[in-house]
């Protein structure tokens, strides 16, 4: 049980990085990026390839994955700079699918490296040191959780600071349309490009951390629904507030994984259940039911708390 909670916290921490990245793009700059998962995928794949095929250290792999995803963010923003918001959103969805299909159909070196097989046996940082010191897998997982949480805190602080700079302020203006910033001399396309590059870097970094934690990645992990779960985190938490993105991640991750607890709880207690409740507790029903629950929560938030659980804060200048 503790092992599972540590696993949950680690993957949740990684997901929170993605939510922070999306919050920078959508919450601050108003960029409806429906291809957020592409950054995550590129970060993971590029890092794994650099380390396993390029023979580089894991640190260089993670850096490479981060830079590659940032460059992909720029690549996504460049040809689409003149598109209207709705068309732009569709183009990002398409871009992410192109990335996934590229990795699904490309083998790297051997036919069992890449394609539908994914990449297996991705090395974990300092793993051998832990084994040599006689420490257990549990110890290692705890170490990795610490690594993820420290990175998450750093990303959170950096992005929140960035939002308060003149750069972040201009992003906030762009979120409500191009005309006013343009008339005030802001090169809007340049700001969008930089928001995509930073968002890409954060997403790619998270992807690399995930790949080296999970030791296995596969194109199936990066389907469009994953992007929508990140969106659910940001909308629920409160777009425009970085703390909100983290809160949303905690809630969505909990719901997403709660079915395992409920199922085991029900089976352990051997409860006398009415047919209807018993039906709900069957795993085949519980699985899809959690998506229904997330959908319902999103609806309720949009209707009754349109600014999310942790609304965007106003910076005060009055004296």
């Amino acid at each position: 049980m503790t092992e599972f909670l540590i696993y949950l916290a680690t993957t949740g921490g990684i997901a929170a990085m993605l939510a922070l990245s999306l919050n920078l793009q959508y919450g601050l700059a108003g960029l409806v990026n429906l291809g957020q998962i592409a950054f995550f995928m590129i970060g993971g794949y590029v890092s794994a390839i650099i380390v396993m095929l390029g023979g580089q250290t894991i640190a260089i792999g993670i850096l490479g994955g981060t830079v590659a995803a940032a460059l992909f963010g720029i690549l996504m923003a460049l040809p689409t700079a003149r598109l209207r918001q709705d068309y732009w959103a569709i183009s990002t969805l398409a871009a992410a699918e192109i990335v996934r299909l590229f990795f699904l159909n490309t083998a790297f070196g051997s036919p069992y490296f890449g394609q539908a097989f994914g990449i297996d046996g991705i090395p974990q940082p300092y793993r051998r040191a832990f084994t040599e010191a006689g420490l257990t897998t549990s110890n290692y997982n705890l170490f990795y959780l610490g690594l993820v949480l420290v990175s998450l805190l750093a990303i959170f602080l950096i992005l929140r600071w960035l939002a308060g700079t003149p750069f972040g302020r201009t992003l906030k203006a762009i979120r409500e349309g191009d005309h006013v910033p343009l008339a005030l001399g802001k090169k809007v396309s340049g700001f969008r490009l930089r928001a995509m590059a930073i968002g890409g870097a954060v997403g790619g970094f998270a992807g690399a951390l995930f790949a080296h934690y999970n030791a296995f990645i596969n194109p199936e992990y990066f389907v469009p629904i994953e992007t929508f779960i990140i969106w659910a985190m940001v909308i629920l938490g409160g777009a425009g507030n970085f703390l909100g993105a983290v809160v949303g991640t905690v809630i969505i991750t909990t719901i997403y994984n709660s079915t395992r607890f409920i199922a085991s709880f029900a089976s352990q207690r051997d409860l006398e259940l009415t047919p209807i409740i018993g039906f709900i507790f069957e795993p085949r029903v519980l699985g899809p039911l959690r998506m229904v629950l997330i959908g319902l929560m999103i609806l309720l938030v949009i209707l009754y708390l349109p600014r999310g659980l942790v609304p965007e804060r106003r910076r005060r200048y009055g004296r």
């Binding site: 302020r169 005309h179 006013v180 343009l182 008339a183 005030l184 001399g185 910076r315 005060r316 009055g318």
Partner: protein, 261 residues
């Protein structure tokens, strides 16, 4: 030799499909005055403003500002040359506060570059402090000092117009283009906006104003030009121009046009 006009428009034309929005308009806006541009709905006033500020491309003609040709430049570059504009429907970001709107409008902010924001944060902070002071002064002149932390979206229609004007002032422009600064504003605030513009002009600011409110034009503008169906039909002192027969006809011949007050 006469001083070169601040803004010079020469033979500018623009069609939208089969509609001729502007049909060879030439206009000189000198420095030191409030220049009014009027005309019935659909006469091409906003199109002309959009062409001058780079939001719409002209089919032909030239536009120069402060002695530099600016036609074809992207709008953000034109703004950086010192030509600031407002929009008809005051689109200033609604989910930002009044002060954030003001700080946004300051020109040449080094903190907008990521490198400077990270490496030169002292300089960025000093700039912010200076901009904050200037923003407070400007907000005081347009009577918005009490609304510093209010979201722009919560302001009244007239206050939004004032915020747009204050934003335009914040960038220290050489010429301010106001698109309908008093449309939909109550009469008392109209007078107030007029007197703010007059005193800013006396303090050395230059204005080009597009407006329908004739009494506002009379009271505020030193010179006025009249557009009708994409052509300039009159130019001169407001009282004299607004009494001309062809100007009256342009306004009165259309059932929907406002009569000169």
């Amino acid at each position: 030799m006469a001083a070169e006009p601040l803004l010079q428009v020469r033979d500018v034309a623009r069609r939208f499909g089969g509609i001729v929005a502007l049909d060879g308009v030439s206009l000189d806006v000198p420095a030191g005055i409030v220049f009014g541009l009027i005309g019935p709905n659909g006469s091409g006033k906003t199109t002309l403003l959009n062409i001058i500020t780079g939001f719409v491309r002209a089919d032909r003609g030239t536009v120069s500002f402060d002695g530099r040709p600016i036609r074809g430049l992207p709008s953000y570059r034109i703004a950086r040359l010192g030509l600031s504009r407002t929009f008809q429907s005051s689109r200033c970001p609604q989910r930002m506060t009044v002060m954030e709107n003001m700080l946004l409008a300051a020109a040449n902010q080094s903190g907008e570059s990521l490198g400077a924001a990270i490496l030169q944060f002292r300089r960025v902070r000093a700039e912010e402090r200076a901009n904050l002071e200037r923003a407070r002064e400007i907000l005081a002149t347009v009577n918005l000092a009490a609304k510093v932390d209010e979201l722009a979206g919560n302001l009244s229609g007239g206050q939004k117009k004032l915020l747009s004007l204050a934003q335009a002032l914040m960038s220290e422009p050489k010429l301010i283009l106001l698109d309908e600064p008093v449309a939909g504003v109550n009469p008392i605030l109209v007078q107030e906006i007029g007197s703010v513009i007059r005193s800013l002009c006396d303090a050395g600011r230059n204005f080009l104003i597009v407006e329908h409110n004739m009494s506002f034009i009379r009271a505020t503008c030193d010179r006025v030009a009249v557009l009708d169906t994409g052509r300039l039909i009159a130019e001169g002192e407001p009282d004299e121009v607004l009494a001309r027969e062809n100007v009256l006809r342009a306004y009165l011949a259309r059932p929907t046009a406002e009569a000169p007050a």
